[in-house]
Subunit: 318 residues, 2 copies
């Protein structure tokens, strides 16, 4: 794996751009580093929501309606679990369960999450391997007025209702990047690093909280580009603006660019936010960032890669 | 739970008689203590084959064809696991999985297996609660010429092909019976203890290897009756006679009675083996022990209970 492009991503929003990037690159030209701070153990099984969403998106198995799980899924397990009085707030389809059980079983044998996910992706014939940001345990805790909530309890069980006071990425400071992530950053043909339009606070900040990963990003000699998750001050999906409001941050793409600050060399804005470009304090690219169709995904991916090319050409980074 | 009858059982063969005993008793009059030495952790999930077979048999959910798992089952999970390259030698149906995940999840919270199984049985409305023989880990190791095999590897994956040199019940010596099992033995209205027609070496000996349990059985003041798993020197199902041959034991109901020896007060023989009765050296009851229909199960259960009544009446035990 010597990628030309390295993407940093969370779940559904990021995975859309990842799919676009995957479609315009040859096998091995794209690597994706995925948030694992949403991972949790549930019903004895290790569940990795962002990795799995990325995997299912790339393999064409993703459920197009809900942004999690698989298409053409059945629910016999969930119904039987409900009849037993088990916890059903986290929906696990019969086919999706296989991935969790397979992963859990190999983890129990001492294998690394990265190795397992690479094997799964290779077996499915993927050209792009979703890489965990780390093999070490990092877990997002959402601090609310009534105390901390484990991420999935906040996100799924409580449906993001509690107001966020702050966020904590437990384990991040001690986590190390895997050899595969380090190698992707060291790729001799690397041309761009893309921060996907994921929720910065829930999906990207956990990656940046891993010291090695932040340092690799800060030292990158290719353009680092972030794509806005906000259009006209609104998120396409998810609680980004709700959290920004609760944290006292203005709901604007400009605040996202400022959030990444010196870590990035360029910012991709939606056409609707073109007026913000002069005030970003960094190079920007204005394009359509709303990805409804595969063509939208590919179009945004091309725009991002071309933007990186312009930044390289302009000597923004040597 | 103050049972009148206490049954000791393994999986499918034993569960047939348990169902018969259940049908002729009022709720709470029967307790069943089930082998847990076949339990194992697979794909991250705690699986308890004998407990689950007993549970599904009592709840009417058992698969009538194969002696494991549930009827009306679907296999989406298994197929997806196969596509991932996962281990598929142990078949787990979509609905059956729910029980394993539910149990694993509660065990992970520090709950006892006994509490969980009682809750599951109560929720399903069972009159008879299958009790684990212990909440401590006991695991049968099958010693073969090429080394030890974990029980399910021997039984399911290798389909009982390797010759058995000996059997080891790891953990049994240190295991304690649960308060529920102790209470069942102490029931003031207890009238009989029945060793079901399970494989003595694989299913009943693990119970007898738990010192407390063996001692409770040895000190019982009600008749202890074993029901033969062999008819005409053959087992209805499973590897009983194969193992007996490998261990150098004659394949006869008489050898089974001798195996339990002083622990039992009476032995139930099949009609086909009536001629063995005089040579058993203990009271016997000759009846039909082949349980094809529910009526067969109920018929055998009645015969066993009546036999215990005769032994009590004869003062065999005060």
């Amino acid at each position: 794996m010597n990628p030309r492009v390295l993407a940093l991503s969370g779940g559904v929003g990021g995975a859309k751009l990842v799919l676009g990037l995957d479609r315009i690159h040859a096998a091995g030209e794209l690597s994706v580093i995925v948030n694992t701070a949403d991972d949790f153990t549930h019903l004895g099984l290790r569940i990795c929501p962002d990795l799995d969403t990325t995997f299912y998106t790339l393999s064409g198995d993703a459920n197009p309606e809900v942004g999690w799980g698989r298409r053409d899924e059945s629910w016999a397990f969930m119904l039987a679990l409900e009849q037993l009085g088990g916890e059903t707030w986290f929906r696990l389809g019969d086919r999706d369960l296989a991935l969790h059980a397979y992963r859990t079983s190999r983890l129990a044998q001492g294998e690394r999450l990265t190795t397992i996910m690479i094997d799964v992706a290779a077996r499915r014939g993927l050209a792009t391997m979703p890489l965990p940001m780390t093999d070490d345990p990092v877990r997002t805790a959402v601090i609310t007025a009534s105390g901390p909530l484990a991420f999935q309890h906040y996100f799924v069980r409580e449906q993001c209702q509690p107001a966020v006071v702050s966020l904590r990425y437990d384990g991040a400071a001690a986590a190390r990047v895997s050899p595969e992530v380090a190698a992707a950053f060291a790729s001799p043909r690397l041309e761009a690093i893309v921060i996907c339009p994921s929720n910065p606070y829930l999906s990207i900040d956990p990656l940046l909280a891993v010291p090695d990963l932040r340092s690799l990003l800060a030292k990158a000699t290719v353009p680092v580009i972030a794509v806005t998750p906000l259009v006209g001050g609104r998120a396409i999906k998810g609680p980004t603006t709700k959290i920004m409001t609760e944290l006292g941050i203005p709901c604007s793409a400009r605040a996202i660019a400022a959030h990444y600050g010196e870590l990035i060399d360029g910012f991709v804005l939606d056409r609707e936010d073109e007026g913000l470009a002069p005030s970003l304090g960094m190079p920007s690219c204005v394009t359509n960032t709303v990805m409804r169709t595969l063509e939208d995904r590919i179009g945004l991916a091309r725009a991002v890669v071309e933007f990186a090319g312009r930044l390289r050409g302009s000597g923004q980074r040597p």
